[in-house]
């Protein structure tokens, strides 16, 4: 099983969700985060004073899928989340040691 963690632009969440649903992915976890990469931050101005805001709002998705689908999921997320402009985000793929469905106790691929 693979954990696919993607940090994307917040307004791209809906497009990514739709793309994953089309692929048959049955669940995901989403959190609101802040971050920066090479995009760096931005400058905001209040009453003539400049504030350097280092962190930009992003959304983090976490999806766990069986090994067979991981590559297609990564591609789908990348296609849907892309704008071509700086700050599009990143996708990380990690190995998952175990998965358990809390309600039934199913484990492994059956829990996904």
């Amino acid at each position: 099983m693979k954990l696919i963690m993607a940090v994307i632009k917040p307004f791209k969440l809906e497009a990514v969700r739709t793309a994953l649903m089309d692929l048959g992915v049955e669940g995901m976890t989403v959190s609101e985060v802040k971050g920066f990469g090479r995009q760096k931050g931005q400058t905001e101005i209040y009453r003539g004073a400049e504030y350097n805001v280092e962190f930009v709002p992003k959304v983090r998705l976490e999806i766990v899928v069986d090994d067979g689908r991981a590559e297609r999921v990564v591609e789908a997320v990348r296609d849907a989340a892309q704008t071509g402009k700086i700050g599009d985000g990143k996708i990380f793929v990690m190995d998952v040691g175990q998965a358990v469905r809390i309600r039934t106790g199913e484990t492994g691929d059956e829990a996904l």
């Binding site: 209040y46 009453r47 003539g48 004073a49 400049e50 504030y51």
Partner: protein
């Protein structure tokens, strides 16, 4: 049918007896004026609770928002009790040219029927109380995010007695500035100049926020600030138009010029920010509004609509310049620009009143025997007396507070946030 007529007849007789039995003083009260000043009292209290609280609250970091709300609320309560105990008397009782007497401590001698002019004295007492509440609350903006709560209470209490009461007496309580003919309709000197000057003094001793000026934190909720600002605008009608102490044309005109000044100064800030940064901000437009309101305050009962417009323009531009001067040139952390907006605005409006009061400029007309120059001199003297006394007295008060309870929070307390450190609460429990 006959039963109804009997009852009406009985009521008419009772009414007639009331008019015969009660002494003439009860009839000197103007119902219309009383109703308006009762309303104005509510409006001005609304300016502090929650107008000013929200205005300032939105401008600080989320971890300190409750401390700001607390400062405003606690000062409102403290000022109310002190007003009753002695400050009203020191401001408005007959005394010397410098301060009132103690004859009205605990409102002694004032009963249900006592009048002040043609409104009940209880109403006058309450209306003026709301001014005494908001003035120390204005100063909160200067020392946010780094002051101890105990210091806030001690400084505010001493300040009301030693700074607010005398200056109020000088201008409105029959003191020496009133004798000189100083024009301050609703508090350019008594409220804004005192608060603004004292803010600077406190900041000098307290020190800046950690990370100032290079590492600033943006307002956590400009939306909250706008909501508070809107309440200030509406409430200011009570502040200025209520200061007419009558429901009449002078109140109406005061409301009109107040409103026009607010709107004009707001647009001035939009214009400046648009030109300077390409983006007019919400925080900017509401700050412009406050500048316009503070500047018109001393002049509101004396000028006409054109005066309101001009004063709005002046207040908008001059206060913007003052913000830049204090923050960028002098690098002074008057955090929410109390001096630049209220202090400078109040002083500017006090001086401008001498010019725009003239009938040529649509005003109510200079006092008998005065010229623009002579009135301007009187206004300037009023400004000087107010600023000097505010500065000196506040300096002493701040050092007393420093010795008694300390002024500044620890670094740890500021890191954690004043809400948790001083009030054991978090505003946003996500």
């Amino acid at each position: 049918m006959s039963g109804i007529i009997n009852r009406c007849g009985g009521a008419a007789l009772a009414l007639a007896m009331i008019f015969i039995a009660f002494p003439a003083s009860a009839q000197e009260v103007s119902g219309a004026n009383t109703a308006w000043i009762l309303t104005s009292t509510a409006l001005v209290l609304f300016m502090t609770l929650p107008g000013l609280a929200l205005f300032y609250g939105g401008l600080v970091q989320a971890k300190n928002v409750l401390s700001v709300l607390m400062h405003c609320f606690a000062i409102a309560c403290l000022a109310s009790v002190l007003w009753l105990v002695c400050v009203y008397s020191l401001a408005f009782d007959e005394g010397s040219g410098l301060v009132g007497g103690l004859g009205k401590m605990m409102l002694s001698g004032v009963s249900f029927d006592t009048v002040s002019g043609d409104i009940p004295e209880s109403v006058f007492f309450m209306f003026q109380m709301t001014f005494a509440i908001i003035t120390p609350a204005l100063i909160v903006g200067a020392y946010v995010e780094r002051i101890k709560f105990s210091a806030v209470l001690l400084i505010s209490a001493l300040w009301l007695i030693v700074v607010y009461a005398p200056v109020c007496h000088w201008v409105w309580g029959g003191g020496f500035l009133a004798d000189m003919g100083v024009m301050d309709f609703a508090g350019g000197l008594v409220v804004h100049a005192t608060a603004g000057t004292s803010a600077l003094v406190i900041v000098k001793v307290l020190g800046a926020r950690p990370g100032y000026p290079s590492q600033l934190h943006p307002p956590h909720s400009p939306g909250m600030t706008m909501i508070g600002a809107s309440m200030l605008w509406v409430g200011w009608f009570g502040f200025n138009a209520g200061s007419a102490l009558a429901a009449d044309g002078s109140a109406g005109m005061a409301m009109a010029v107040t409103h026009i000044s607010a709107a004009t100064a707001s647009l001035v800030w939009v214009f400046i920010e648009w030109k300077k940064f390409g983006k007019p901000s919400l925080v900017g437009v509401v700050t412009g509004m406050v500048a316009g309101l503070a500047t018109i305050t001393p002049a509101s009962g004396f000028v006409g609509p054109i005066g309101g417009l001009c004063i709005g323009l002046l207040g908008g531009f001059v206060c913007y310049g003052a913000v830049v001067l204090v923050k960028e040139k002098f690098k002074f952390d008057d955090s929410l620009d109390v001096f630049a907006v209220h202090g400078v605005g109040g002083i500017l409006g006090t001086l401008a009143a001498a010019v725009f009061v003239t009938t040529e400029l649509g005003g109510a007309g200079l006092a008998d025997g005065m010229t623009v120059m002579s009135q301007l001199k009187v206004q300037a003297l009023g400004v000087a007396a107010t600023v000097v006394w505010s500065a000196v007295a506040t300096l002493v008060i701040v050092y007393i507070a420093k010795a008694v309870c300390g002024l500044r929070c620890d670094d740890d307390e500021m890191d954690e946030g004043l809400d948790l450190s001083y009030h054991g609460e978090r505003d946003y429990n996500f």
